[in-house]
């Protein structure tokens, strides 16, 4: 027993010696919280153009009424979609119903993403001339408009409980994971359309998006926006899509256009 204890002591001395060395080297000591902009794990700013390679017919053209293939609508959702009337939408000044947050990213569009300030990202689209604001701190906005209220955070793979040895925690923080994603949760939406032909989402919709940036070796840079739309009013289950954009060097092709209801 004494032998083992001596070994443990020696090890602890070694451990803390290494740990202390590491901390003096600039790691471990608590740093003042960086701004979200400074803490960005990926850079998604710039101009991006959508690549409409999936759901092509539904996104490039306005599908016929009642064509809601692939969208897990519940009976209420189907009934609402079957009642789509673009003339009525125009008369009500609601041409932008398909350009709300839950439909906007599926539009053939260009994105312009910039930092509005150190704690707020701004995403603009030329399709429908819309602007989404991603707040990195809880937003107090009332919402109720097409883009609702979006709260953002940087996400990266990390376990809910860190352990270097089977559930035991020795007080060492996990090594930082490289890369990451931008997570955006959007609520308080004005009811709109998932697709231009009146496939609906309701005011209680919660939309969670992850923005991932991929640098294709020797090639282009892509932005993947993975979206989960949860809407108990019109959807039987969460609606998942993943939408791609290619990085542009500049604003080429940026053509702001008004919303079109059909």
């Amino acid at each position: 027993m004494p032998v083992v204890s001596n070994r443990v002591s020696a090890a602890l001395i070694l451990v803390f010696s290494i740990s202390g060395h590491a901390q003096r080297g600039g790691r471990g000591a608590p740093q003042p919280p960086a701004t979200p902009r400074a803490a960005a794990r990926i850079d998604i700013t710039g101009y991006w153009v959508s690549l409409v390679t999936e759901d092509w017919r539904y996104r490039q053209f306005t599908p016929p009424k009642g064509d809601y293939e692939s969208v897990p609508l519940n009976p209420a959702g189907r009934m609402a979609a079957d009642a789509w009337d673009p003339v009525k939408d125009e008369a009500a000044g609601e041409q932008c119903k398909a350009y709300g947050a839950a439909g906007l990213m599926r539009m053939p569009t260009r994105l312009h993403i910039t930092w509005q300030d150190d704690r707020t990202l701004k995403l603009e689209t030329d399709a429908g001339t819309q602007t989404r604001i991603f707040h990195f701190e809880s937003a107090q906005a009332a919402g109720g408009d097409w883009q609702g209220v979006s709260v953002a955070s940087w996400e990266y793979p990390r376990p809910p409980v860190y352990s270097s040895f089977g559930g035991l925690d020795f007080g060492f923080p996990p090594p930082p994971a490289p890369g990451g994603s931008l997570k955006v949760t959007t609520t308080k939406l004005r009811p709109g359309y998932l697709r231009k032909n009146g496939v609906p989402y309701g005011s209680g919709t919660v939309m969670t998006e992850y923005f991932d940036r991929f640098d294709v070796p020797g090639g282009e840079t892509l932005l993947l926006v993975t979206t989960e739309v949860v809407d108990s009013e019109y959807l039987a289950q969460p609606f998942w899509t993943s939408t791609h954009f290619r990085k542009q060097n500049d604003a080429s092709g940026w053509t702001p256009a008004p919303c079109l209801s059909r």
Partner: protein
């Protein structure tokens, strides 16, 4: 707690402390962070659900950057092609596999001693697609290595993604309506995981059929329990009886009868789904709406009177002045580097070699064979008299010997004195070929020691050698009038000679007795002898005259191509077209980016001419 166990726990704690501290001090090595994608996953078909489930419609190519060749290939594709025996069980190429319906199971393979991640396996329920993603840093195989439906994948963790590169894919489809993906396609994938949602973004680069990379993504939802039903057996059978063996269902080029169905059903401009890369970007709807009917109809046929496109395929030849050995199966090898491919079988007896290459690197070929076999070359068979396959006959023959001859009847009767070909056959490999090879070589005034002395005239020549039955089958009037295929029965390897290659259109040498009908018959003869391991993958290996090691899937695709081109030329001949009119019609437009050439020994024009003339004037006996 027994003392020993306490000791182990304490030792473990020690290691954990030290390991953790060391990691902290050093930080994670770059790219070492690994996301976990293992488990059971079900695809969420919330995008393209209709085409991925029930199936797509003809002429629905919207969102694909298909070039002219890709579009025309798809328009000519008849789904009835799947009734052919050699397509009934076609697997899915990897990018389509990952998009298919059916569950997926993903697991890791770790070295038991080091716990290093060796590979990630992906099992797809549909077609039993079995992917291996190598994580141990191994290189990709050379260009002459076999292709498969899953391809060869290597991966690494970059940022929060698993990034995978895949090469060596077979020909398949981007969409189940014939939208093609060629065997030259390569794929980069990014797997990311957000909770129980896994996303695989695929970037397909295909120089043959795409004008720009095709980006799509597949979403999967984690399943907490084994969904079972992982098997998907397929055996081919007779779906249509009595059909002639040279029938491959296809729609005439430029005359797809259902081309407008899709646009009419959904009230889209006809050009919309035919426009290629343009259809992917914002603003396309307006452009499509402004297109004229004539512009749209023009997309349904080849641009006439245009110089043929040329192959964008990777050249599988190493061109490095070296001979490269690719083990195939058992003791059979493929040697690459001296023009035509060479096959070597080794064993207790001397080496049995098929073809001798161009002869520019014969010394290195001989050296390579000596590395494989402790015995000299005993037999050298030629698949034809073409220069790329007999060029090394003299040197390889001289480097060999045939110990079966001394003391035999032939030794007493034939050497030198009788034939004048060989002074001492026992000290020279015995050269074997169809008799017409000798006729052609004599006509070409080849040296006597390059002449096969052991010839045959009719269907086949058999030899049991190195414990294996080796059969030569005569394929009359295929690319020449002296073609043989050589089947190593135990290893199940077929040397096809120039009847099949992966680099160009078949070199149908009219002057040497080649015909398109004979070529089709020969390709079908190969297919009559092959078998696949699973879903048209693996099984019998087929060594092409030129190109990468193949199996029956590549032969079937090649056969389809020759038949389809034959059909188009024959239809034009029946309509009274001249050769010039056939060539102007670009009847190979959907295959030129894969096999075409405008210069060199074998151009697209010469191939079309060979098809045309052999249909107009069926071959007679060899001159």
């Amino acid at each position: 707690m027994p003392f020993t166990m306490r000791k182990q726990v304490r030792l473990g704690l020690l290691l954990a402390f030290i390991g953790g501290a060391t990691a902290l001090a050093q930080g994670p090595p770059p790219g070492a962070f690994a996301i976990d994608i293992t488990g059971y996953w079900t695809p969420a078909l919330h995008e393209d659900g209709l085409e991925r489930g029930n199936g797509p419609e003809i002429a629905d190519y919207g969102g694909f950057a298909l070039n002219e060749a890709g579009r025309l290939f798809a328009l000519s594709y008849d789904p009835s092609r799947l009734t052919l025996r050699h397509h009934q069980c076609d697997g899915y190429v990897m990018p389509y596999q990952m998009r298919a319906v059916g569950n997926f199971r993903i697991w890791e393979d770790r070295d038991p001693h080091t716990q290093q991640l060796v590979a990630i396996h992906v099992w797809a329920q549909t077609t039993e697609g079995n992917r291996v993603i190598w994580m141990d840093g191994r290189p990709h195989p050379p260009a002459w290595a076999p292709h498969s439906f899953t391809g060869f994948s290597t991966g690494q963790f970059i940022g929060n993604a698993l990034v995978i590169r895949t090469t060596h894919l077979k020909q398949g489809w981007l969409r189940r309506n014939g939208s093609p993906e060629s065997d030259q396609a390569t794929v980069v994938e990014f797997f990311v995981r957000h909770g129980d949602h896994l996303i695989d973004t695929t970037v397909v680069t295909d120089p043959v059929y795409l004008t720009e990379p095709e980006v799509r993504s597949n979403d999967y939802v984690r399943q907490p329990a084994d969904p079972h039903a992982w098997l998907y057996a397929c055996d081919d059978g007779e779906e249509i009886t009595g059909r002639a063996p040279d029938v491959v269902p296809n729609y005439p080029l430029g005359n797809q009868p259902f081309a407008k169905e899709y646009s009419e059903r959904y009230k889209l401009p006809l050009i919309a789904s035919l426009a290629g890369a343009e259809s992917i970007y914002p603003g396309f709807a307006a452009k499509a709406g402004n297109a004229t009917e004539a512009e749209a109809v023009a997309k349904l046929q080849p641009v006439p009177n245009q110089r043929p496109e040329t192959s964008r395929a990777q050249d599988p030849e190493p061109h490095d002045g070296e001979i490269h050995v690719l083990p195939i199966r058992e003791q059979v090898y493929m040697l690459v580097g001296d023009g035509g491919n060479i096959v070597v079988q080794t064993g207790d007896q001397g080496a049995f070699v098929v073809d001798s290459g161009e002869g520019k690197l014969s010394d290195k070929v001989i050296a390579a064979i000596r590395q494989l076999s402790g015995k000299p070359i005993q037999f050298l068979a030629n698949t034809s008299a073409r220069a790329a396959h007999v060029g090394g006959n003299s040197k390889l023959g001289a480097a060999g010997s045939d110990p079966s001859l001394p003391g035999s009847f032939f030794d007493l009767q034939s050497p030198g004195r009788a034939t004048g070909l060989l002074a001492d056959p026992a000290h020279h490999a015995t050269l074997i070929a169809h008799n017409n090879v000798v006729v052609r070589l004599q006509a070409a005034k080849a040296p006597p020691d390059a002449m096969p002395a052991d010839t045959y005239l009719e269907e086949r020549r058999r030899k049991f050698h190195n414990g294996e039955l080796i059969e030569l089958f005569y394929e009359p009037n295929a690319v020449t009038d002296g073609d043989s295929i050589v089947h190593f029965r135990r290893a199940d390897v077929i040397a096809a000679g120039d009847i099949f290659n992966t680099t160009q259109y078949p070199f149908i040498d009219l002057q040497s007795g080649g015909t398109v009908q004979g070529e089709i018959r020969a390709l079908n003869d190969i297919l009559n002898q092959t078998g696949y391991e699973h879903d048209e993958n693996g099984g019998t290996s087929v060594v092409p005259g030129h190109g990468y090691l193949s199996d029956e899937h590549e032969v079937a695709e090649y056969r389809d191509m020759v038949v389809i081109v034959r059909d188009r030329v024959r239809a034009m001949i029946n309509a009274g077209a001249t050769l010039e009119q056939v060539q102007a019609a670009r009847v190979t437009a959907d295959y030129d980016t894969r096999y075409g050439a405008n210069d060199g020994a074998w151009t697209t024009g010469k191939f079309i001419e060979a098809v045309y003339r052999s249909l107009k004037q069926p071959a007679g006996k060899p001159k």
